[in-house]
């Protein structure tokens, strides 16, 4: 995972990027974006599930198409959201929808100690 500002983290790959933002208003945003041209345009507002598989855990999340290349999901900040974020920071594969959609899979490397530092920030924000 590369790049973090405050309690926002972004993992980028050749064809996609995945961002997590922990807001102080008590919400956590997940956003999966396909690089322009890497996937066919998405239908705005369509529900698209997001799946993650990694050595620290696996989860599924219901998302919605917000733009032609972005799938967005939001959930209340809390231990459930932090638990999902934890698994992402351990590295793994992120995908959205079924293969027929043609969305690229994003391989996220372990965040390492930078991810630990970021997670402390996120946890403090979530508890704050």
């Amino acid at each position: 995972m590369a790049g973090s500002a405050g309690c926002a983290a972004l993992a980028t790959g050749d064809a996609a990027a995945f961002g997590v933002t922990v807001h102080s208003d008590g919400t956590v945003d997940f956003a999966l974006s396909a690089t322009a041209g890497a996937a066919p345009p998405l239908l705005l507002g369509a529900p698209v599930p997001i799946q993650f598989h990694g050595p620290a855990g696996s989860w599924n999340l219901s998302g919605l198409v917000r733009t032609a290349t972005t799938i967005h999901a939001a959930m209340p900040a809390g231990d459930q959201a932090l638990g999902m974020v934890l698994t992402v920071l351990g590295g793994g594969a992120l995908s959205a929808g079924d293969p027929t959609l043609g969305l690229p899979e994003l391989n996220i490397p372990p965040a390492g100690t930078a991810g630990t530092t970021w997670f402390r920030c996120a946890r403090d924000r979530e508890h704050g």
Binding site: A56, S58, L82, G83, L86, T87, G90, P110
Partner: protein
Amino acid sequence: MVRDVGKTVTKAEATQTGGVGRRLGAVAFRLLLVVAVLAGWAGFELHAERAQAAAQLQDFAATAASGFDAFISRFTAVTGQFGGVAVAPHNRVDIAVRMLQLEPALTPAENLFLYNAAGQFIAATLPLLPDDANVSRHAWFEAAAAQVGEPLYAATADAPLGEGAGVIVSRTIGDPAGAPAGVIGTFLAWPVLRALVTPSGLPPGSTIRLVSAHGTAPMLTFTVGVATNHPLLDKALTWIGETPSISATAHLPGGLIWNVVGPAFTGLTPTQLHTVIWHGALAALGVVILLWLLRPRRRPAPQQATEAPPAPVPELEWGWEIDSRGRLVGVAGNAPEPLLAAIGTNFLSLLAKDERAEHLREAIAERTPVHDLELAIILPGSPRGTPRRFRVSGRFVADTGGFWGTAEEIAAMEPIKEAAD
């Protein structure tokens, strides 16, 4: 005729050497007594101070044990909630969420983590690091997996899923069937552990050691603050066999031993130290005054005969004194003038030999007083057999080892016969 001058000179000669020596000895004795009382009293107060500090340190040990015990109780309670949980990969997120919910109860520790019995990562409250995906070869995990039950402590240079050195506190948990399913633990960085086992108010200079019953080397050794040393006091205490340091020990859960060694008098300010010495000086002064009040009083009679001006004696009375060897060393008052020539000679040799002279000789030998003993004294220059009779009283003089007394001539005395040799 009174001859006080002759009496004084002879007395001085008789007592000069012994008297000076005794006085010097008495002064030295009193000086030593003052020093001993001063040191004794100060030692008593310091000993009490030391005992109080030791008791206080033991209280600190109890406080440290209590604080750590509370943490371990929380750890046991938190980790106990994972007993019976399916320690499986499909359950990781749920376990992580549960850990995140319970982790605040473990403050000040952080990073609750769980590995399965094979050492594979299951869940944690910090992100998984690649090197920590499998800890089956880590010494702390091997030790923890081998012990079921109470928490186990292991010092480590690298915290699991984190950075830094400290202590891992862990314990095994069972699966739904009760078999060992994994090891759950938390991590206390050294500063956190230090804070946890350091009671507030611990005397500066105290050194805390945390020893695990499973290892010989201390897990943690550190000193709190800087001691205020009293080098001279420490040396003095060492000299009298008191160690200048005190220690206390507490047994913590899981076989941990908390030990502290602290300076016994670090809390003693210079003002307090001066107060202790002042108290000792007052005690010494009190003893000196007491000794002065209880001093042995000199008998009035010898005092008159030896040092103080002779008290007026009745017209016919006169005083006499002999030394420890029986020599006449002084006369006073209306002593017969011929007696002055006998000073320096054996007083008993001047007596006519009869039972009463023998009685005086025995009294002198036994140091018992005589009263109104009628004695016949053959004064120098008088013909043998014409003694004069005197009523003689006397008593032992402790200062000189001699005898002192008074005599009064008996008028109209009949000549007495001298006893045959």
